[in-house]
Point group: C3
């Protein structure tokens, strides 16, 4: 995804790390251990990663000195691989926060097949399919692709390199492809992890008003075909939402979680990161999902509404139980 | 609301359904059984609808063959009335997803009584009252009406045919009149239900920043006078919010729910669809309301905060109780 | 913060209240008792305020007749001090809801150090530091200050008088400096409390997409340096968020709450108004925090997810316990 290339020695230099292996090895991307291919640099933050380490196709590894001996690949030893990774995202970002001074919306205005309204900004190297309609106030970043017959309501923001399939409908004021929440501890403050990944929406996806869908940190966030989101849904970096799944208003899904096909997820739910929800799962509104759901079925979790005086009693009893 | 008219025979043809009754009967609108008037086509999805069926003023009914004998009106028998209704919404939509190429904001710029900022887009056939101020980046769809002395903060999106009363204040980046979440099952995917209804805001309504309020599917969504919404509130299709009611930040109200007058609804609540909340009800924050509240009073429901180790114990006990 | 000045007698006249003290005393601002300085008018709604009353540096007080005898300062006696205060906010507002007809974005376009994209609106008396990039569709209100090297993604709205430090990153469609929810009861309706306060973001703050952060009612809302917000976070008027604190997606913090430094607050939380959270507190997602947290540590509170049939049983048992 990046066009940048560095020798392992250049990277070690930038990070102030020590190389074990071939300093002239070419690194052209950052990646998780799982998704790494030839040319990728990956990272091991803690012991949990070791299981995947030697199965990975990564060409080199960022690792701490205490875990170094477990690594049979070329590696760079640094004090804090998470912080080093955060710093490296700056090196591999095509451009960290772009300038949008040149509008190419006029280039599309001659096409009879595409309708671009007033007050639209279109970046460089954008591909727009036949029959696409872009309403006023939309922003389309560099390298975005929008499939045939997609419709963007007003004031939608699409970050660079996001890819939309055919017949997508994106409601007003939604944001597609924003950075996920990612920071590495840096002494007494935070180092931002640049988000180098992408967001892919398949065909016939509908996104409600004022939704936010983050791009991948590395790799990608994916909404498969016929996914339908109500308003104010939030989907974090690297999630995958299965075909036909509908998600109710105000539900949030944290990073790297995978939701199956044909699920119905009620409004106001919170689903934690790094879990998997099976196909054909129905989750009622206001449910907090803290672990994977491994079989289809109906799940609930919201708390009960009571007259306030009864609720106080309920809460007081609960508290007493735990004040021992 | 639609200017379109069809013979019952044309509709049956489009749907591939069988007519019982007068094929030349004119249908000029879709409607729920309850709100139907002369000329309306309505629908019966399942037995629950039968109670309202023969009280309805609908001119004709979409119905499945097993319920057909209960219907004394003209009807079209189809395999799946919900799917058929979804398809019909396309026939009755004035325009399914409009093109916004012609801006009429200049037409208002000669008026001394109205102030339209830069980067505003105004559609066709819009009515704007004296003293209205529209800030930069706002979008006003076709056939919108904005009452006297209303103020729109920047980047607000108002979908077509939305009606705002006098002295409304709409904070930045809010979306008024968007489609509700509505899809009918279509083999292995979803058929979108076009939203033909409207959104009406009465006088002296204030809408916080980044709120979303959906239009009616059919019929309308209504916010009565002096309703005040905090930021990031979501109100779904066909809700009605009573006079003077205040709703805290991030609360979501699902479709067709009716909230009374003089209610105070805390932030972060989730209120399910198709229920009724009485006048003078106060609901504390983070409450999940699953059924109608039929008397005034104070209600609560949020769960308790505990030190994490105690919470784990609490959760573990609860889980055990249900693993039998 | 206001440039307006009135004699105490003018204010009493406007409110129809009775003066006790010097009618020629000059009042140049409204303030809470705690933050009041020479020249400020403050208010006492109920007995709770009395503790702070005579410690306050306010020059005069709005007070009801029953509490009048407790007040040793100059005062104006009115029937309803809260309603009177709401009315006074109109008197002290520089301008109640401004007109944005004159764009000064061109004034910045000659600078090589600042990059202002197309479709940006910049109000009057705005200060923008070197290296700032403002993306398409952003709105910058009057008297806003944006520190060096800050980056605004598209369609961000910044209300008047908001101050951003250096190296801030504001993601798309966020709203900074909006009014808080504030209304005083006025017979059978509501009187709006104008928000005269400000919003201050310190250096290196990052705000996710579609967030809303309100200005102070009086005084200010503050995000200290290295605060990082995920998407769709809501922060109400007069909150203060401590240095380095990270807040997950969709969390809402109600008015005047103070969060410490180095906190990690999960997504989907609701934190009530007027409480204090200690430094180094970690709150897990979906927690409802109803009282101050006075020691560092990890806290949780979300409810448990169950198969729906078990949940129903759980809920039924809970309900029975309280139906006595």
């Amino acid at each position: 995804m990046s066009k940048k290339k560095y020798k392992l020695s250049e990277i070690a230099n930038y990070l102030g790390g020590e190389i074990f292996g071939d300093p002239s090895r070419i690194i052209n991307n950052l990646s998780s251990l799982k998704e790494a291919q030839e040319g990728c640099l990956s990272f091991v933050y803690n012991k949990k990663f070791l299981k995947e380490l030697n199965k990975s196709s990564a060409s080199a590894i960022l690792i701490s000195s205490d875990l170094k001996e477990k690594c049979k690949k070329d590696c760079i030893v640094v004090d804090d691989p998470h912080f080093a990774y955060a710093r490296l995202t700056k090196l591999f970002a095509e451009e960290v926060r772009e300038t949008f001074l040149e509008d190419s919306s006029k280039d599309f205005s001659t096409s009879k097949d595409i309708q671009i309204s007033k007050n639209v900004f279109i970046g460089q190297n954008v591909k727009i399919g036949k029959g696409v309609i872009i309403s006023p106030g939309c922003f389309i970043g560099n390298n975005v692709q929008i499939g045939e017959e997609s419709y963007l309501y007003p004031n939608v923001t699409i970050y660079s390199s996001t890819i939309l399939g055919k017949k997508n409908i994106i409601h007003a004021n939604s944001v597609l492809g924003s950075d996920g929440l990612g920071f590495a501890k840096k002494n007494d403050s935070w180092e931002k992890i640049e988000h180098l990944g992408k967001l892919l929406l398949s065909d016939d996806v509908e996104v409600g008003a004022a939704c936010t869908i983050d791009r991948g940190s590395l790799g990608k966030t994916v909404l498969n075909s016929y996914v339908k989101l109500d308003n104010q849904v939030h989907i974090a970096h690297n999630c995958e939402i299965g075909k036909n799944t509908i998600i109710g208003a105000k539900t949030a899904i944290a990073g790297s979680t995978k939701i199956g096909e044909d699920c119905l997820i009620g409004g106001g739910c919170g689903i934690v990161d790094n879990i998997t929800i099976e196909n054909n799962v129905r989750i009622n509104p206001m449910t907090y999902v803290t672990q994977s759901i491994k079989k289809s079925g109906i799940f609930s979790g919201g708390s009960i509404v009571l007259e306030h005086s009864k609720w106080l009693k309920h809460i007081t009893i609960q508290k007493k139980q735990f004040d021992d």
